[in-house]
Structure formats: structure tokens, C-alpha cells
């Protein structure tokens, strides 16, 4: 015990004497925090939502690199050979070095927390729980650092090994990129890495339900940490020359990996791969869709592009890259389009095809208001019998101008609600709480410093000319452009404006017509004018260069989100 404490004290003292190590241990977390802060500068209280990630990165850096580098450089130097001449057991010394590192991590974490609170973050909800979750996460990663130190022969090897664990964990392990933004395959992989459990456990104590909510994550971290400690003890060597002198050395690596694999499998078995909030959103959506769909067979996901999150690494299929998603799933093939289940693309030109008869009434209940305004756009003669089929799905609806159409029902309204619900997949939408197309919860109180801005927008929206256009489709599109642009700009108002626009749309437009308009917008995000953007300054929104490509993608997502809200297929928070 005396030796343990002496070694602990000297480790700390030597650490603070090493400027480079200090820089790494304290400056790195600080820079990371500020980077996060700057990155999300338009959100006022972003830090509280990212504390789990920030603290995990700190732990990860201090354990994967800090601890392993210290141990290996001391071993290379011969410090451990000197220790070996004394009667003190190796375990005591290693435990003491790890304890010292833990103290350093704790201090770096506190520094980060203090800094975050200085930048406006509220006090963590469960301070005591935070200490526990931070400690358990530290335990898991320090074990990992120990294993790295025992595998690596020299300091460059530590760097190489550390990076191969550190970077994947940051990117697809749920540490730097939120799980909600990751594709499913990455979620499955991340379940095998300790990173996401650390983020989850820490986040739960910062702004969540506390330790109880993170029981599985804590268990996962403990298991990973224990396996690593057992492996680290088994592989312990006093000097680099001892490396794997006997074959069991490699077996211990398997023990450490076994911890990860075991946790990953346990997570799969318990259905914890998809994070709960995402799973809840999805299952609510799925249940709602099931209700609406009745007997319709599952169609392949028609809206994968609506996941345009720029943070998702494989988003090489960008939003709005195709005019309509249907071109992807083969429904433009006349045979399948003519099928009775009605997975057709929205009506375009008037090529006759059998339409499902049970949906006729939906087409006739169109209110009269918009019809007069769009005579040219709605040329179809008989809404009942002409369902689309052999026209390519990406043919713009407006190109049917001058066909044998009467004035009553615009072409875009020909689609039935059942078809729409069949076609849309709500559980693939980016989460409302995410970075892309955020929508605030109804009880979210906006930060005070954007009240004025929100007031301005709210008041101006009522009289904004593009938002008063008589044409329902244009009006809906124009209004939705507002949150889409704000989202692309990442303005602080981004989660709140969608609600205002949703309210106006729902107030002014009959819900069924609105759904159809939204559907049309969602599947044809490239159609229609973007002139409304020129008038955003009337809402007090600065006009800068904006990537229309991005805007259209988000426009579509917001449209589908609103459909989800109106139909209950994907309720708001």
C-alpha cells in the first residue's frame, strides 16, 4: 500500500513535470470542447447534449494514448526493469500507474465540465451519477490502454495501435458522430466498441435519466474493462524483449477482444443495437404505418435519400439526386406499377391504367379551393380511371400541360392517401433531435437570445408573399423552403421554425390536400421554383449563398415529417 501510494504520487508529479503530456492531457480536451462549441455555434445549449461524447473522447485519449505511452516509454527506458529488482509486485505498480492516470482523467474531465459550464452549459442533472459513469468508462478504457501497452513494443507502436482503435471508435463507434446519424450497419459495428456505451452512460447522467437508464452501458463497460485487465495482467512484461515469449501471450489478446465481442453479442441479443430513442421513433412510426397500410405488402424503402446527413460517411447518394425515389425501386416498370397494391408513382400524364377502385373516393374529396388556381397544372380529364403507369416516374407532373384535362383536380392530387402511406417510409427519417432537419419538441423553450428572431419570423410569415400564394402546392413548397434554408444555414432558430410553418400549413390547408401536396414535394423536390428564397430577407433571414441541392433534400424531409405528424405515422415529440 505504501508502495502503491508512493508510485501514485510520483506518477502524478512526473506527469505534471512533462509539458508535452500535460499539453496532451489537458489542452486536447479543451480544444475538442471548443471545436464542438464552434461547430454548433448556432445552437445555444449544444454542449449539454455533447458532454457524453466530449468526456468520452477525453477518456479515450488519456487511456489509449496517455496511459499506454507512459507505460511503454518507461518500459523501453528500463524503469520497469529497475522496479523489478524490488520486492513490490508488478500488479501493485501497474494498478498504481493506472490509478494515477485515472486521477488525471478525472481532473481533465472536471476541467472540461467547468469550461462547458462557463460557456453556458447547465449543471449536470446527476452529478454523482456522472462521477460513477465517468469512472466506469475510465475503467474500461484504461484497461484498453493497458492491453495496448502490453501488445506494443515501443511508443510508435502505441500510436499506431491507438489510432486503429481510436479513429473507428470516433467515427463509426458512436463517439464523435452521434448514433442517431449513423447508418444501421455502423450501429451494428458500434455495438462491439466500448465508445458508444461510454457516451451513453455519461450522457444519461448529464442530461438524461441517470444511472438507471444506462444500466446496460455500465455493465458493458465493466465487462470490457474486466476482460482488458485480465488480458493486461496475463500479458504483462517487464521489458519489451519478453514479448510473447510463450504462446499464451496471444491468447490473452483474445481475452481482451472477447470482452468486446461478448458485449457486442449481448447487445445484439438484447436488441440494444439501435439506440432506444431511435428505436422508439422507428417503432412508433412502424406501428402507425402498419395501422394506415392495412394489408399492403412491404415495399422496398422508397426514401433512403432522405437521410442526407452530411455526417454520414457513406452518404454518397445525396438528397434529391433523383427526381423521385421510385426510380430506384423499379416501380417505373409498368408491370409492377400496374399491380393492385398501388405502389405507383404519383400521377403524371394521363396514360390510362387500372387504378385501385377502393381509393376512388379519396380522389373525389378534394376541396375546391386550389383547383381554380392551377388549371394549367392539372390537365387530367378523369381522375378516377387514369392512374399512371408507363410514364417514367421522374417525368415532371407539370409537363402534362395541355393534355385532355379538365380543371377540377390537379394531377398531383390524384394520388390516394393509401398510396402515399404505402410509399413513404417514416422510420428512415433523420431524427427530430438530430442535426439534419431538426424539429423542436412542442414543449421546448427556445433560448432567450433568439426570441426576437423567432418573433420576427412568426409575424412576417403571416404576410410573406410566397407564403400567401393561392396555389396550394407552391404555397406549401415556399413555406417549407424557410425551415429548409435555415437548416442548411444551421441558424439557431432551425428547430423552431419548422413548427411555425407546420402550424400555418395545417391551419390554412385541408389536411388531405396538404398531405398530397407534401407528398408531391417530397417525391419531386426538384420541381417548382425557388424564387421564394429571394424573399427570405423579408423574414429577417440573411441571404447568403445556399446550396440548393441541400435545401431541396431537406425540403423533402420536412415535407415527409409533416405528413408523419398529420397522419400520426411519425408523431412529433
Amino acid at each position: 500500500m505504501k508502495g502503491f501510494l508512493a508510485q501514485l504520487a510520483i506518477s502524478l508529479r512526473l506527469y505534471f513535470r512533462n509539458r508535452m503530456a500535460m499539453l496532451y492531457g489537458y489542452l486536447f480536451p479543451t480544444v475538442f470542447l471548443i471545436a464542438f462549441y464552434v461547430l454548433y455555434r448556432y445552437e445555444r445549449v449544444p454542449l449539454v447534449r455533447h458532454m457524453g461524447e466530449l468526456l468520452t473522447v477525453t477518456i479515450l485519449g488519456g487511456a489509449c494514448f496517455g496511459l499506454a505511452t507512459t507505460l511503454v516509454s518507461e518500459r523501453e527506458r528500463g524503469v520497469w526493469r529497475r522496479y523489478r529488482l524490488t520486492p513490490i509486485p508488478a500488479g501493485t505498480l501497474v494498478a498504481s500507474t493506472i490509478a494515477a492516470r485515472y486521477v488525471l482523467l478525472l481532473s481533465a474531465g472536471l476541467l472540461q465540465l467547468a469550461l462547458a459550464m462557463g460557456l453556458g452549459m447547465p449543471l449536470p442533472d446527476h452529478p454523482f451519477g456522472l462521477v460513477i459513469s465517468f469512472s466506469v468508462a475510465s475503467f474500461a478504457f484504461l484497461g484498453l490502454g493497458l492491453v495496448i501497452a502490453m501488445i506494443a513494443d515501443n511508443v510508435p507502436a502505441v500510436q499506431a495501435l491507438g489510432q486503429t482503435i481510436f479513429l473507428p471508435m470516433l467515427i463509426i463507434g458512436g463517439v464523435a458522430v452521434p448514433l442517431a446519424s449513423l447508418p444501421d450497419w455502423a450501429l451494428y459495428i458500434s455495438a462491439f466498441f466500448p465508445g458508444r456505451y461510454a457516451v451513453d452512460a455519461i450522457q444519461a447522467t448529464v442530461d438524461g435519466e441517470g444511472l438507471d437508464a444506462a444500466a446496460f452501458s455500465l455493465l458493458a463497460l465493466v465487462l470490457i474493462g474486466l476482460a482488458a485487465c485480465v488480458a493486461g495482467a496475463g500479458m504483462f512484461r517487464w521489458d519489451a524483449g519478453q514479448r510473447f515469449a510463450k504462446s499464451p501471450g496471444r491468447g490473452w489478446v483474445a481475452v481482451a477482444l472477447g470482452g468486446w465481442i461478448g458485449v457486442g453479442l449481448l447487445a445484439q441479443a438484447q436488441g440494444r443495437v439501435i439506440p432506444p430513442e431511435l428505436a422508439a421513433e422507428r417503432s412508433a412510426a412502424a406501428a402507425a404505418v402498419d395501422r394506415t397500410r392495412a394489408s399492403a405488402p412491404l415495399s422496398p424503402a422508397p426514401l433512403p435519400e432522405i437521410e442526407p446527413a452530411p455526417v454520414v460517411p457513406e452518404a454518397d447518394e445525396p438528397p434529391a439526386s433523383t427526381d423521385s425515389p421510385q426510380t430506384n425501386d423499379g416501380t417505373s416498370d409498368p408491370v409492377s406499377a400496374a399491380g393492385p397494391t398501388g405502389t405507383q408513382p404519383p400521377p403524371s400524364s394521363g396514360a390510362p391504367a387500372p387504378a385501385p377502385t377502393d381509393e376512388v373516393d379519396a380522389g373525389t374529396s378534394v376541396p375546391s379551393m386550389p383547383e381554380a388556381d392551377r388549371p394549367a397544372d392539372a390537365p387530367d380529364t378523369d381522375p378516377v380511371d387514369t392512374a399512371p403507369a408507363d410514364t417514367p416516374a421522374d417525368a415532371p407532373a407539370v409537363d402534362s400541360e395541355g393534355a385532355e384535362a379538365p380543371v377540377e383536380v390537379p394531377e398531383w392530387q390524384k394520388v390516394t392517401l393509401a398510396q402515399i402511406m404505402e410509399d413513404l417510409v417514416f422510420d428512415r427519417l433523420p431524427p427530430d433531435s438530430g442535426v439534419v432537419t431538426p424539429v423542436a419538441a412542442y414543449d421546448d423553450i427556445p433560448p432567450e437570445d433568439i426570441w426576437y428572431e423567432l418573433d420576427t419570423i412568426q409575424a412576417a410569415l403571416e404576410t410573406w408573399p410566397p407564403g400567401r400564394t393561392a396555389d396550394v402546392l407552391d404555397r406549401a413548397r415556399n413555406l417549407l423552403l424557410v425551415p429548409a434554408v435555415i437548416d442548411v444555414y444551421q441558424l439557431p432558430t432551425e428547430p423552431y421554425v419548422p413548427l411555425m410553418v407546420f402550424d400555418i400549413l395545417q391551419r390554412d390547408i385541408d389536411s388531405e390536400v396538404l398531405i398530397k401536396a407534401l407528398y408531391h414535394i417530397a417525391v419531386h423536390p426538384d420541381e417548382g421554383g425557388d424564387e421564394a428564397i429571394e424573399q427570405l430577407h423579408l423574414l429577417g433571414i440573411g441571404r447568403g449563398p445556399v446550396d440548393m441541392y441541400e435545401v431541396r433534400g431537406r425540403l423533402g424531409v420536412y415535407a415527409v415529417k409533416l405528413i408523419g405528424r398529420i397522419t400520426g405515422a411519425r408523431p412529433g415529440r
Partner: protein, 319 residues
């Protein structure tokens, strides 16, 4: 104090230690000598419990070192060349840290004083001179007031003055009642410092005893160095060698009684009996009309013994 019996250690195909046995008495300075790769380091590492020998027994202060290495380390101090300290630690911190590892440590302040480190006690190890670093290593070997101290090449890399100071220090250890086991490749150092030495070559002890005994037991007790005005013919030397016939009193394998070496007009002869050899040499030179310019007669040194013994085993191996 130390008793090693039939120690064996094999690394793959190489048998580094092939049955080494020796005893060290309490309160003596015992030196292990040998060329590189002779098995000195392996022997020491086995004794310190850093390596597991294949066979043999090691007893230190009545403890079985192979079964109770922790208890042995409690009573043994060591300064090995391959060890190091953190570069930013200070001597005082290092001594305090290491003293916390033992049950009955010596006061670090006393050690600082004794090893003349008080002035440098709070400076980082990095900034110490070679001699100061070595003194710190010795001080660390003493934190547990050890009965036995291992010193691995204690004066390697030191200048003459530091070396002399260190020798005094090591003698003081013995005088304080500590037993010292050291390795060195400096024969002069072994001769001056050690009470007894063991010469190790190719995993075996080829000679053991007090340095004077070893020299006295050598076949070449004397060395004759002479310089002449012109080259000495080889057959003349043959005749001289014949005069100094070997008496065969040592156990080394039949060394030549006299051997000549050097350039033709500068000669070094080794002989067991200086008198008759000189007599024969002088008269032979005189008979050939060769004038003598310089003549020295020296006692054999440990180096001669060492080279003889290690050469002999090399020759034995070659044959």
C-alpha cells in the same frame, strides 16, 4: 551468503550457462569476470530471479532464491546496467519511492549524504553527470540495507577519478558488512577491488580464487620485456625456451613455459622461473653479439591469467 550449484540455462540451441557453481562468503567482494557472452549476465539474472534457470540451486542468505524471489529481493540490492530511472525524477524522489517498496528501508536523506548526492538531491536525473547517476544507482541499491549487493559493471563509462571514488565506495560497503557481487570486464579493477574472483568463459567457471592466488598459480609468473640493438634470431629463442622447462604445477592445460612475442628487436618473454631464463637469455644474446638496450622483469598480471585461461578454452573448443 550465496551458494550457486550447477546452474544451467539454455536459450534455444545455445547453452549460455553450463553448470556454474560458486560460493560467496559473507563480507567479501566477489567478482565475476569473463568476456562478453560468457554467461555472466545470465548467471546474475538467474540469481536475482529475473530469469528462470533450467537447473541448479541458488541459495541466498539461507533462502531458496528460485522459490522465494520476493523474499530474496527484500534482502538484496542491485544496480544493473540495463535499468534506468525516469528522466525527470530527482534523486530524493527516487530514493523515497524505492524506499517505499521495502519493509525496512534506510532513511533516504542518509543515503543522499553517504553517496554525496545531497547537493544534487532535487535536480532531475537527466541533469546529473555519469558519476552522479552511478552513485544514485548505488544509493538505490542500498535503500533496503541489503545483506548482498549486486553491481553490474559499476564503473562502466566513468572517468578515472569517478572510478576511484566508486572503488572506495564499494570497499566501504564491504567494511560496513555488506557482501558485494560485481561483474566487470576490467581486470585491473577486479584485481584491485575483489577479494575473490571467478573467471567465467563459455558458460563455465574456468578459475576461481583470490586474484593473487590466481596469478601465483599461473604458469607464467614473470614477464621479461627486452629491447636489443638488432633483431634476435628465432633459433636463439628456441634455445632459451628449452632452458626454462615447465614444471606443470598448475591445472591449466599444459601452457608453454615461455613464449615470445613482439617485433624482432623488441621481445616479451613469459616464464615461470625468471632467474634461469634470464641467465640463459643473456648468455645467448652475448654469444650472438647482440647488445641489450632495455630489460624489465615483471610479475604476471591477472590479465595474463585471464587471457591464458580464456584462450585455453577457446583452443579446447577449436580442437
Amino acid at each position: 551468503m550465496v551458494s550457486v550449484r550447477d546452474l544451467r540455462k539454455r536459450y534455444g540451441p545455445v547453452e549460455a550457462v553450463r553448470g556454474i557453481s560458486f560460493e560467496i562468503q559473507r563480507g567479501e567482494i566477489f567478482g565475476l569476470l569473463g568476456p562478453n557472452g560468457a554467461g555472466k549476465t545470465t548467471t546474475i539474472e538467474c540469481i536475482l530471479g529475473l530469469r528462470e534457470p533450467d537447473a541448479g540451486t541458488i541459495e541466498i542468505a539461507g533462502l531458496d532464491a528460485r522459490h522465494d524471489p520476493a523474499a530474496v529481493r527484500e534482502r538484496v540490492g542491485a544496480a544493473l546496467q540495463t535499468t534506468a530511472l525516469h528522466d525527470r525524477i530527482t534523486p530524493r524522489e527516487a530514493l523515497r519511492l524505492f524506499s517505499s517498496f521495502y519493509r525496512r528501508p534506510v532513511d533516504p536523506e542518509r543515503l543522499l549524504e553517504r553517496f554525496s548526492l545531497t547537493g544534487k538531491a532535487d535536480e532531475a536525473v537527466d541533469g546529473l553527470s555519469g558519476g552522479q547517476k552511478q552513485r544514485l544507482a548505488l544509493a538505490l541499491a542500498f535503500v533496503n540495507a541489503p545483506e548482498l549487493v549486486f553491481l553490474d559493471e559499476p564503473t562502466a563509462g566513468l572517468d578515472a577519478r569517478s572510478r576511484r571514488e566508486l572503488h572506495d565506495e564499494i570497499r566501504r560497503m564491504r567494511d560496513d558488512g555488506h557482501t558485494v557481487l560485481l561483474t566487470t570486464h576490467l581486470l585491473e579493477e577486479a584485481e584491485q577491488l575483489c577479494d575473490r574472483i571467478a573467471i567465467v568463459d563459455r558458460g563455465r567457471i574456468v578459475a576461481i580464487g583470490a586474484p593473487q592466488e590466481l596469478v601465483a598459480g599461473s604458469a607464467r609468473r614473470h614477464r621479461i620485456v627486452l629491447r636489443t640493438d638488432r633483431p634476435v634470431p628465432a633459433d636463439l629463442l628456441q634455445a632459451v625456451a628449452g632452458v626454462a622447462a615447465p614444471t606443470g604445477e598448475t591445472d591449466t592445460p599444459s601452457p608453454p613455459a615461455a613464449a615470445a612475442a613482439g617485433r624482432s628487436n623488441e621481445l616479451t618473454l613469459q616464464t615461470e622461473s625468471a632467474g634461469p631464463t634470464l641467465l640463459a637469455l643473456l648468455s645467448a644474446l652475448d654469444a650472438h653479439g647482440i647488445a641489450l638496450e632495455e630489460l624489465h622483469v615483471q610479475r604476471a598480471t591477472l590479465e595474463d591469467v585471464f587471457i591464458d585461461l580464456t584462450d585455453a578454452t577457446a583452443a579446447e573448443r577449436a580442437s
